[in-house]
Symmetry: D2
Subunit: 355 residues, 4 copies
């Protein structure tokens, strides 16, 4: 499909939900991937429209190719594509992914459909899961923390943007027993692209410029995902209060995590550097510095850092990602690389666009 | 001095440090005050320059008046002005305010010079206090929580922007025994104007747009001020971990406060509404909604709200102010109104500029 | 209706279309007006909803008052209100205003319905005018240039934001014969609030941040209005090519006007200062400086300035307004003041909120 | 020097002025270049500091490498590096480039030092040119319009950001005789990064957010460069009035060009598409649409488009670039590719980061 980078030997991939921000970011990144080629880019309402009419910036790679329909893409098999990235609204991929996998297509799901136990869906996502038997088969695709399992997976649940930033920041500290799991407050800040491309009052420029506001206090669907991931690492229940905020930025998520600690700064920092030794997509900032999502814009890097309020015995672990890359499409391609035996970093920028 | 609103019967006021953002905001607000008139606007480096050359937006009120020097203004007495607002850098007002008060001038200090016990200054502000005997005479000017003392005060310590937002949000909950004081995490977000008018890498547009970053983790000078205020209200020590963040906005501070609670949402909300009954400058948002500093831009209002994570027994109390108004110049004028017997709301906007 | 500033002796005013950005700005400004009171705030879709639910920032002034319906407000008469501001979509006020005027209500129309000759509406606004006989009775309300006629008017056509900025900048230069009317290029830049409160892809934060783009090139409906106004001043046909651009800002319009000239800078500047001598809402910036809408944010002031490219004999006249104030609601109240015999500046801020 | 992409067979390149925004963008792009490697990154004040301390985002590629000094880099010869990009302040490269070229190093100069005839420097740049004999040897590196000459060049003058956007937009129309050269108004809008990394009041976030302002009206140093380029294409003198504006964005330049025309839209559009047939870095937007620099962020693409005000016989040609890429470092690498026989597009992104 791409005019750039496409070749007969390229491995074919489908993107479902390609007209949303995450899907389009997958199109952008895959266009520069040395081994993959987007064979099908499927969309809901935009099916039939030229990709370039929705994303003129993709013109050089996608020319006049049009979005396929999701129905069409849902019927693909191994003879069509090796793998599919699904970036559809929550509740849709759990209806589509099983069939694709059964027909031999490796799937990475960017929605929340395969991240939680079945019984959590009604409360947090508002729907009854339609394929609960598949939940056990899905591998949670946060390679830096649970990488070993991704390589052989047929179905990967790509983590949410907030869980990625939060877990990479405080996960190793809980794992090392340096953070008290009984009360973890996670205060996250997100750019507007996390809310998607659909116009609404909440993402109106006039509403958002100059604004910073909490939303879904104590009820955001990423809360149980964060608790699950951190619990796995801590080997114990972790009690998380999670409050996301919308800030006047397009890209970027910063998660600031608070927990009691009796550790010193150097020990906390050491736990992070040890955890991420040799990991190309995590950068531990030096003690005394703090992460900033601006510095990882358009890259697949997560910056993590830690500070400590020694007076009060509280640690402050901070993670920063580009929510559309390491928080969505980039991490999905990282998972795809691992699933299909490509180098983990193939096609994934490590230098943020700055300023 | 003003061409607008000035009159022979106006009560004369001086502003020291009038070329900084807070001082200039005082000039803007005082120009519309029904009873006060700016008789002297003093500045450091800008002394001698026309006010309008630094702030063209002030031209209609200040014409071609020039900044006086701080030295000049420091020598004023009761025959010159009734009161002075001091918006100089930390450490300067403690050298100037005592003399002014001794010469009969009522003083509101917008710096941190009269907010803490003497022994705290070296650690948090980096200087030895030069007038420790005055610390006991200064009244902390947060009228909604400690209003009674302001009226008779000769010297008022105007609260910091972060303490204002945080204390108005969680203060009444601690006072009512609804929040556990043993571990309070306060995650604050501030627009860039809080960093002042002086150019630096940190406030460069290219550095700040698209960025969100923590700074002074566990070491910000507002920390002991917040603990002091909350401790007074709680009647017990309150352990605060405070982390401010810089966000891509000009004005606005949002403070998100986390603490353990066993109270229900309605009780928390009730404690706030009871505390602010009849207070013109605090708006408690309805349960289920959250404050946003955008909505109070250029007004002296603080929005407060509270949510609860009932699963985990954690409350989330949130306060939002315009850091230059309720967080600085507006609150200073509110204090001045109370000190000089004017209506508390005189000259202070209650409607935010929105959008 | 207001809790603030309302009194039995206040003169009653209605605002139709009060839930849009311009209408809500009228509510904000009228709440602080010394003589007027908003008796009716009418809206379309929001009719019946509390004003504060749509604009929480207006709560202190409007409490729990609800929007009336436009139908209701269209039936008002002189015994209900003295005057009405109509900020409805183009094409609606021409159906409503005549009835109001006939029932003795003075009307200021913020839409484009009474600004052009009848024959221009199909082309520029896409509708056939339904009350062409009223076009001759409407007075164009740009008081600094055509002030004399406003005082006695029953129906005032409030100028568009772009025509206000452009005409105040280059109008006096054309009137003085210093600008060649045969080819005037007007390049305007507008914040997003000019596009209204309704969500759309064009005003999505993700679309607008980092973007600057021309729209309606050569076809914007303000083009004939600008030509008409400038033609009246020049006493000759003025050929205008007008291109507006959307920039990443909320408020503010800047109009940069290019025309051939043989005049020197001092003569051009003198023509502006002479034109605006004694006008409280126009500030001519000194030679060598240029206007900036940021400096007039939330005020009713228009900054104008002029430069010259002497090498090429081209003048560059620039005007800057807050599109919601001097470009809409503020100028409407200025007109109302003149129509009802109040001081021209009553209730209208002259100091911009800066920074 | 890079940990990423470096190899023994890579062709060595130096970047002088690597700590500025343009130089750092060159470091970012060169880190991903398939054939080039940054052997020396030299800076002025930052010499000796780790690159990553100034640009943490470059850490993954540059590790703990430090900036060399400019003096050191000025002494390089062909045995050290094949080529040098010079992104130093105006006036410095003309002292350094000749020596480098004489020692066999191919040079691309991103400053204005080799773009104009010697006699223009005092007026527009404020200095007397110190190497006027080299001006005739330098090739103007705008490959889409004057590509043939770049390949063999030893010294290339990389165009300014404004001339790039403006010339690519209106150049072909002047060349085709479709635009009247006697009065061309060019109204440009630029993000703040064009003003460089050095803090100043002009680039303070508080000054720039919500602001749009013209600067250097009729006196910007890119004016003669634009006239020279357009004159070459038109084969006649072109009279340009150029006014740049600063807008609240980080990256991006949009140039809106006005000129009289008697051509129809389709002819104008055809002239553009014909001019850029087969050019990988210019995208002509469809008739009825307009360029937007947001869509080319972080890419080397220039979007161009044209509209026409048929009523008035005026064309509106518009060009959009990322000022740090196609307007600086990207175009420099494009020139380097051509000079050194690499594929023109090597290492240069064609897909903008959007949103």
């Amino acid at each position: 499909m791409q005019s750039q980078g496409g070749s007969s030997s390229a491995r074919k991939v489908a993107v479902l939900g390609a007209s949303g921000y995450s899907g389009a970011e997958a199109l952008r990144l895959l266009a520069g991937h040395p081994s993959f080629e987007v064979a099908v880019a499927a969309a809901g309402d935009s099916a039939g429209s030229p990709i370039a009419s929705v994303y003129p910036s993709l013109t050089p790679a996608y020319g006049d190719a049009a979005f396929a329909s999701v129905a069409e893409a849902s019927a693909l098999g191994a003879s069509d594509v090796e793998a599919a990235l699904i970036a559809l609204p929550h509740g849709e991929s759990s209806r589509i992914a099983p069939g694709l996998v059964e027909r031999g297509v490796r799937v990475v799901d960017l929605a929340g459909d395969f991240r939680l136990p079945a019984e959590e869906y009604p409360r947090w996502y508002g729907f009854e899961h339609t394929a609960p038997e598949w939940l056990g088969k899905a591998v949670y695709g946060l390679p830096e923390l649970f990488g070993g399992q991704v390589a052989g997976a047929e179905l990967v649940a790509n983590p949410g943007c907030y869980p990625t930033a939060a877990a990479l920041a405080i996960g190793p500290l809980l794992e090392a027993g340096l953070a008290d799991p009984s009360f973890v407050a996670i205060d996250a800040k997100s750019g507007v692209s996390g809310a998607g491309r659909k116009p609404s009052d909440a993402v109106h420029y006039g509403r958002t410029a100059g604004s910073v506001r909490p939303y879904k206090v104590g009820s955001h669907q990423h809360t149980p995902e964060i608790e699950l991931v951190l619990g796995r690492l801590a080997g114990a229940e972790v009690s998380v209060t999670f409050v996301p905020h919308l800030i006047p930025a397009v890209r970027g998520v910063l998660a600031t995590c608070y927990a009691k600690t009796s550790a010193a700064l150097e020990d906390l920092h050491l736990a992070l550097t040890a955890a991420y030794e040799g990991k190309p997509f995590v950068r531990v900032v030096p003690p005394g510095e703090m992460p900033d999502p601006k510095r990882v814009t358009a890259s697949n890097v997560c910056e993590v850092g830690v500070g400590v309020d020694a007076r009060r015995g509280v640690l402050v672990a901070v993670g920063a990602v580009d929510n559309l890359v390491k928080g969505a499409a980039g991490q999905a391609i990282q998972n795809l690389n691992l699933m299909l035996g490509e180098p983990e970093t193939a096609g994934l920028p490590v230098l943020g666009v700055f300023p």
